[in-house]
């Protein structure tokens, strides 16, 4: 019987486990010697920065082309960046949407586009053998340089986007996330969701998409990441073929700074759900931030390490209040959000919100313990090989390093930077950068009337500070 062992075995087993644990503690940083990928970099004639890692083992190549053409560039036309990217595969050069789909599927290539607040990404994975390689590369090059924005296709994509936006309205988490960004970023362009609003999407003009493309999809506004079974010469030739159709153009202007919140904000949104989603946030940090590693490691301890984080321990492991709870900093070109989240049964929403906020306050006041810091360091540095193991991992790192102009030795130095973070640095950084008295808090659920007596849908309970 498996759970009724004799006591002598238990004792023996316990000793063995203790000895084994002691043994593992001796391996403080066994992996520092492990090589990180060797990054090669150069510029194309039309000004695109290329980052390349040779990965000869698998006969395939991953390409990730990123433009400073995210939704922060939408201006008054929310969803413009996202719709522009979505239209690339709907017609380009002499091909219509069917022809483009045939060309890519016919050789097993996979192409995708994505738009976040900072960047538009066009990604391609293809075999290096022919005719797959040439077909995929020529298709990609034409899509990014010569999209047609065919009016009939635009209308269809627009209507389907409107359906998708309505489906996002069905999800309390999606509704909450959008409301939180609006509260945290106010009039800053990061406030609006990349997918756009129904009003704006309904009104977008073809010429606006074409203009957005002409302005932003240019060589000097792009970074190209390549990982695959190519040598340097092959990668240089590939880079030329992919982006040579783009004019040099101009890099996008820097985004405006993100103002801090002047006051707390509380939004309660009525929603016919069985759970209440509770979100809290404020402007966090940017890529390359001087406090990056202190905040990263600190957040790892607070709510970034899954089952072993403090938030998970307080909210799930001790109280069973939520299946999922976490916090994160999303570093962007300008400070992206610091965000905390949970979902709980409606009648527990107030309790869960209090535990979440108390946990944050306590962490800011006290900082991490040495034990927590040691555990976090070991997790992050020990797990680093997992983060750079696949071509898919590496190409994403390359795009981020290139786009945010991080040092090329970012991956090489990552573990030593993590190791050097102290508990005092974390406490200090959180005290300076996170302000629990000035959080934006959003609740979405059927308990919102309890949280905010008499609140109407999307009532802003406390005035937002001016920026």
């Amino acid at each position: 019987m498996c759970v009724e062992r004799q006591s002598d075995r238990i004792d023996r087993a316990a000793r063995r486990l203790t000895a084994w644990l002691a043994g593992t503690l001796l391996f403080t940083s066994p992996l520092l010697a492990q090589a990180t990928p060797e990054i090669q970099t150069w510029n194309t004639d039309n000004g695109t920065r290329v980052l390349f890692v040779a990965a000869p083992e698998i006969p395939m190549v991953d390409v990730r082309l990123v433009f400073a053409a995210g939704s922060a560039r939408d201006g008054e036309r929310s969803g413009l960046a996202s719709m522009t990217a979505a239209m690339l595969s709907e017609g380009a050069g002499d091909w219509d949407a069917d022809a483009i789909a045939d060309r890519l599927d016919g050789v097993g290539a996979v192409l995708s586009t994505d738009v976040d607040r900072d960047m538009a990404t066009v990604a391609l994975r293809t075999l290096t053998r022919q005719p797959a390689f040439d077909t995929a590369v020529d298709t990609f090059a034409t899509l990014i340089a010569r999209p047609t924005f065919a009016p009939g296709e635009l209308e269809r994509v627009r209507q389907n986007r409107l359906v998708a936006l309505r489906q996002e309205d069905e999800s309390p988490r999606s509704v909450g996330q959008k409301a939180l960004y609006r509260a945290v970023f106010g009039s800053h362009p990061y406030a609006s969701d990349p997918s756009g609003t129904p009003e704006s999407i309904a009104d977008l003009k073809r010429a606006e998409l074409a203009d957005f493309h002409a302005r932003h999809y240019v060589g000097s506004n792009a970074v190209l990441a390549i990982v695959g079974a190519l040598d340097r010469a092959g990668a240089e030739a590939l880079a030329r073929r992919l982006v040579s159709g783009l004019p040099s153009g101009e890099p996008a202007a820097p985004l405006p700074p993100v103002p801090e919140l002047a006051d707390a904000i509380l939004k309660s949104i009525d929603f016919p759900s069985s759970q209440t989603t509770v979100l809290a946030g404020q402007p966090g940090m940017r890529r390359g931030d001087p406090d990056y590693f202190a905040l990263h490691v600190g957040n790892h301890i607070l709510g970034g390490s899954g089952l072993v984080s403090i938030l998970m321990d307080e909210i799930r492991e001790k109280r069973g209040l939520s299946y999922s709870t976490y916090s994160y900093f999303l570093p962007l070109a300008q400070p992206g959000p610091f965000l905390m989240s949970l979902q709980t049964r409606n009648d527990q929403a107030e309790q869960a919100r209090a535990v979440m906020l108390d946990t944050l306050k306590r962490f800011i006041d006290q900082g991490p313990t040495e034990e927590e810091l040691t555990a976090a360091r070991k997790n992050i540095t020990g797990g680093f090989p997992l983060k750079i193991a696949s071509n898919s991992n590496i190409v994403q790192y390359l795009a981020v390093i290139g786009f945010y102009d991080l040092p090329l030795d970012y991956l090489d130095r990552f573990r030593e930077r993590i190791e050097s973070v102290t508990a005092e640095q974390i406490r200090d950084a959180f005290a300076r950068r996170v302000h629990p008295e000035r959080l934006a808090i959003v609740t979405v659920g059927a308990s919102s009337t309890q949280v905010e007596a008499g609140s109407a849908t999307e009532q802003v309970s406390l005035a937002r500070g001016t920026h």
Partner: protein
């Protein structure tokens, strides 16, 4: 965090389903311990990492009425302490060793994994061996974890109208098969689940002779076997009685249901009863069904995208899916969201016209060629994911199929002819095998109903 793997998500590329491929093949090394534990090792030396996975032959399709969801609750309890480890200590040890970990419960399996640097394999084995036979199962942790699972159900199912529609659709499509039950369990069953139920379930199914250990990565197979013997070897085998699975009777005519839930857009789900690999009349039939699903929904060039989304503009999105590798007979599924100005009914009609077409005319050889090229490319691409390669092996083995089937998958698909695709469409996509569910959106603005539900009890679903 522990999570269940949800329903067959139709929009997942069908082509990424199990296979290893002659092209991709590196050797898999196999060993069985005296206590019955089967060990499969796939070396891959691209990076100094590994994935270690323990797959148990137990999942929601082994459950009976009244205790549905017990496999998944037990999966949660596997993190809540053993005789030697305090609740949560398992996860803390994995984390301190730089590991990523999680677990997932499906209809046919429950699986646990750690992704680690390749010098940490013993961490995984020591911990997994401990919880395979020495779980503690305390009342306090159980009551708390049950609340976590109820929250998980609310998040995944109750507050997601499409997920809720799928749950009720499955319950209607199957008259008797346990595939009619949600993996996470029915709310009423979760309310009455007791620690004794979980303890019984653990004793019945968690033993080395009901498990498969899969390791992929930068490892030496002989060292893996030695370490496995050291840690799992002392565990006692258990008498595993084969489950008495309630067989699905023949369906006697088309079934329809409407699911009313707060939503803004309608949604159509259609499912036809189909065989899986184990029970097909002819061994080629499941492969022909897989090819059919790729003809319909294998990328933007496939028929549903080309004709329903782009051509006729009836669907905002549309998909089809089928799984050859399941323990019990399943469904060939269609799903879609109507485009603006269209209704669920017009979309259903359009989907049926697509079915009629594959029944009445053989598919174009060019379409078959396209799918073959996609399958070949996908085999190469999947070598970039260690986890996925190990998962394929575990998945096949837990449903009683040989992992070598994956090696022949590409060839079997490539052999499928247009006539065979037409034949399976005619044989299986027939009205008497069909169930149709339509999501009937209810206003999101009114909260009265949901608020009332909350007062009544924790886990009522949103109407």
């Amino acid at each position: 965090m522990p999570r269940r793997s949800i329903v067959p998500r139709l929009l997942l590329p069908v082509l990424l389903l199990p296979s290893l491929a002659t092209l991709a093949a590196t050797e898999v090394h196999e060993r069985q311990l005296d206590n019955g534990l089967k060990i499969l090792v796939k070396p891959d030396h691209r990076a100094p990492i590994l994935t270690s996975q323990v797959w148990y032959r137990i999942g929601s399709s082994y459950e009976y009425g009244g205790i549905t969801g017990v496999s998944h609750v037990l999966e949660h309890m596997m993190f809540q302490g053993t005789e030697r480890l305090a609740p949560g200590e398992f996860s803390r040890i994995v984390a301190e060793n730089g590991g990523e970990e999680n677990a997932f419960t499906g209809r046919d399996y429950t699986a646990y994994y750690q992704n680690l640097a390749n010098d940490r394999l013993e961490v995984s084995f020591e911990l997994e061996a401990e919880r395979m036979r020495h779980l503690k199962l305390s009342e306090k942790e159980f009551l708390k974890e049950l609340e976590v699972v109820k929250e998980e159900r609310r998040m995944r199912t109750d507050d997601d109208p499409q997920s809720l529609t799928y749950e009720r659709f499955s319950a209607a499509a199957y008259d008797a098969s346990p595939y009619r039950n949600p993996v996470i369990g029915w709310p009423g069953d979760l309310e009455q689940l007791g620690l004794d139920d979980v303890r019984d379930w653990y004793r019945l199914w968690y033993a080395p002779n009901n498990a498969i250990l899969v390791v992929a990565g930068d490892v030496d197979p002989e060292q893996v076997f030695t370490l496995a013997e050291k840690h799992f070897g002392p565990l006692a085998a258990e008498t595993i009685r084969p489950p008495k699975t309630r067989a699905e009777p023949e369906q006697l005519g088309e079934k329809r249901l409407r699911v009313q839930a707060p939503a803004k857009e309608s949604y159509v789900l259609m499912g036809y009863k189909t065989p899986s690999l184990a029970d097909a009349d002819e061994p080629w039939e499941p492969y022909a069904l897989e090819m059919l699903s790729s003809i319909l929904d294998g990328g933007d060039s496939a028929r549903l995208s080309r004709e329903l989304v782009r051509g006729a503009r009836i669907a905002a999105s549309a998909g089809a899916g089928y799984r050859a590798f399941e323990r019990l007979p399943g469904l060939f599924l269609f799903e879609g969201v109507p485009a603006k100005g269209q209704t669920a009914e017009t979309l259903e009609t359009a989907l049926r016209e697509q079915i009629t077409r594959v029944q009445s005319e053989p598919v174009d050889p060019a379409e078959l060629e396209r799918v073959r090229n996609q399958v070949i490319a996908a085999k190469v691409f999947e070598r970039d994911s260690l986890f996925y390669q190990a998962m394929q092996i575990g998945l096949l083995e837990t449903i009683g199929l040989d992992w070598r089937l994956a090696d022949t998958y590409v060839d079997r698909l490539a052999e499928v002819t247009p006539e065979q695709i037409q034949a399976v469409a005619r044989k299986y996509l027939t009205p008497e095998r069909l169930t149709v569910a339509i999501l009937d959106p209810q206003p999101l603005e009114s909260k009265t109903q949901a608020a009332a539900n909350t007062q009544l009890g924790a886990s009522t679903h949103v109407r």
